[in-house]
């Protein structure tokens, strides 16, 4: 059960060799035993999970099950789930039990999947190490002295430590791909607008996108089939024909053109990461792909642009947390304004406050054009770079992160060093293009390395195909941290 793929688990459930209640109980027990070592979960609710499992078993008994019926899935605590504590990793929402399901949760429920628990995350998804959560740091299961990455660090840890067969994450600047790389698992951020953001607590609305995290690419395709779909309640949700993301997985790669941006290979990458990426590219050449050098001249601006736009949107989105409408309220205050100020000062952690202040500043009178509009213009230039690169190649590859997982506490006092963890990933959020990370080996201190694969809009099936073909001939994704 521990290392089984979703297809294997689904087959066993369909053939009645295993019940969902047994499978769910197995993972609940693992969480109970091992979560104290990792802190990957904020909340579990045995009663709800087992009730969902029993309902799934009934569906399976009458032959109504689908690919994910009865499968336990760990849900990032950014998704509202009816009856579940939904904290977004913040003290601000430490008492918030959601009265409704997010679009993503609804789709998993309809598919008959089991919610095995809510995973830990950086507060309001702001962080690259999972050290900003009000619920404590998450540890990397490959080396508990290292960070798991963030903000979906709890989700990545849960999959890598085999506390759940698969998980959901969200990605605003790399928050699925970066922790996936640092924890040696697979993760994909789909094209912006493909997965509903309804009920997903907003950080930066024009960048946030949900996606799956799992052991293998085949698992990702099955999860994406459930997660992707139009939702009228999300004004940015795209209306497109439903795709089967598993259908192209076996397509041979001969003739595939892989673009290698010279800017991503120039500097900043550590030698161990570079070596693993080179080895992965050699495997792709064996598979019949050719590599071409491409240019992304504005790529180096992704981080500054991101740290104007994301905080600007965050400062607006988080204005709703004022001690009145949601969650935490200060105990003592002298006036209404004082209550707002104290509630927000006590309810938010340092990184969230820092980003709200940056966002408030760049949106303020006199600075709006120089920062916010300037960043929006550069965002277009970055997107144009990618569009031009795709004239010469089908997909773009490079490292997901500049280094392997860093030590706990190593960057937590230096925001800029922390922000640079997402140097290769944030462009895909600014442009809205799909991107993923897959494990390709190990670097310094035997910590995992990820390969970043970026595609053009709506090319998820191609990305999954490219990544799956690599996993057919390698076994990095089968290595287990526990």
């Amino acid at each position: 059960m521990l290392n089984a793929s979703l297809r294997e688990l689904s087959k066993q459930l369909a053939e009645k060799k295993l019940s969902s209640v047994e499978l769910t109980s197995f993972f609940l027990q693992r969480i109970k035993t091992l979560n104290p070592n990792y802190n990957a979960f904020i909340t579990t609710n045995e009663e709800i999970s087992l009730a969902q499992a029993a309902a799934a078993d009934k569906m399976l008994a009458i032959g109504k099950g689908g690919a994910l019926t009865g499968i336990p899935i760990a849900q990032k605590d950014i998704f509202c789930a009816k009856g579940w504590l939904t904290t977004c990793g913040s003290k601000m929402l430490s008492n918030f039990v959601s009265p409704y399901d997010a679009g993503v949760i609804e789709r998993f429920n309809l598919a008959g999947a089991v919610n095995i628990g809510k995973t830990n995350m950086d507060e309001f998804a702001m962080g690259s190490s999972n050290e900003t959560s009000y619920y404590g740091i998450v540890k990397n299961p490959w080396d508990t002295k290292a960070v798991p990455g963030g903000s979906s660090g709890g989700a990545a840890c849960a999959v890598a430590a085999r506390l759940a067969p698969a998980a959901t994450g969200t990605d605003t600047g790399g928050s699925i791909r970066q922790p996936a790389a640092l924890c040696g698992i697979s993760g994909i951020k789909p094209t912006y607008g493909l997965v509903s953001r309804y009920g997903m607590i907003a950080f930066a609305s024009s960048l946030d996108q949900a996606g799956p995290m799992a052991k293998s690419v085949d698992d990702l395709a099955l999860l994406l089939n459930v997660m992707v779909g139009f939702d009228a309640r999300d004004s940015t949700s795209l209306q497109r024909p439903q795709e089967d993301y598993t259908s192209d997985l076996e397509r041979p790669l001969s003739g595939l053109r892989i673009g290698l941006p010279k800017e991503y290979f120039a500097k900043g990458m550590s030698p161990d990461v570079e070596s693993a990426v080179d080895s992965a590219l050699a495997e792709y050449r064996k598979l019949g792909a050719e590599t071409v050098e491409v240019a992304l001249p504005n790529a180096s601006l992704s981080i500054p642009v991101y740290y104007v736009l994301a905080p600007a949107e965050a400062s607006s989105n988080l204005s709703r947390f004022d001690g009145v409408r949601y969650g935490y309220r200060a105990q003592s205050y002298s006036s209404l304004t004082d209550m707002y100020r104290k509630s927000r000062a006590e309810g938010f952690g340092p990184e969230v406050k820092r980003r709200i202040l940056i966002g408030t500043y760049v949106l303020s009178q006199g600075y709006y054009d120089a920062y916010y509009i300037k960043a929006q213009k550069l965002r277009r230039l970055i997107a144009q770079d990618f569009t031009e690169a795709y004239q010469q190649c089908d997909v773009i590859m490079g490292p997901t992160t500049p280094t392997v997982a860093f030590n706990l506490g190593e960057k937590s006092t230096d925001p800029i060093q922390m922000y640079l963890s997402d140097i290769y990933t944030s462009a895909a959020n600014l442009t809205g293009m799909p991107a993923m990370s897959i494990p390709i080996g190990f670097g310094d201190k035997n910590r995992p390395v990820g390969l970043h694969i970026i595609g053009n809009y709506f090319k998820e099936a191609q990305l999954l195909n490219v990544a799956h073909q690599y996993q057919r001939i390698t076994d990095w994704h089968l290595k287990s941290a526990v």
Binding site: N95, P99, T191, Y192, G193, S206, A232, S235, T236, L238, S300, L301, I303, P304, Y307, V308, S315, S319, G323, V324, R329, Y333, S335, L336, T337, M339, Y340, R341, K342, R344, A345, F348, K353, R354, I356, L357, I358, T360, Y361, S364, A370, Y371, I373, K374, A375, Q376, K377, L378, R379, R380, L381, A383, P415, I416, Y419, L430, T431, G432, M433, Y457
Partner: protein, 95 residues
Amino acid sequence: MNLSLKDIKHVADLAYIEIDEKQAEATLAQLSNIFSMIETMQSVDTSDIKPMSHSQSVSQRLREDIVTETDQRELFQSIAPQVQEGLYLVPQVIE
């Protein structure tokens, strides 16, 4: 970009976040570094570029003007932090 302590306090005031002197000084040091990094944006000429606020070229979707909400009063009452006699208790706002 030269941020001052006065700027930090003003922005904190606009953002409704209480901040003391010590926190303001620490924030000033961090934000000054962050804005130095952000300033690298200014090296690129963008005078002819249109701002990009959304990754897809789509227009705002409108829905039918019909009521879709259902009555969930009992549910909301059951999970509200403070209720009394069917009413929600909120802080005093009229002094």
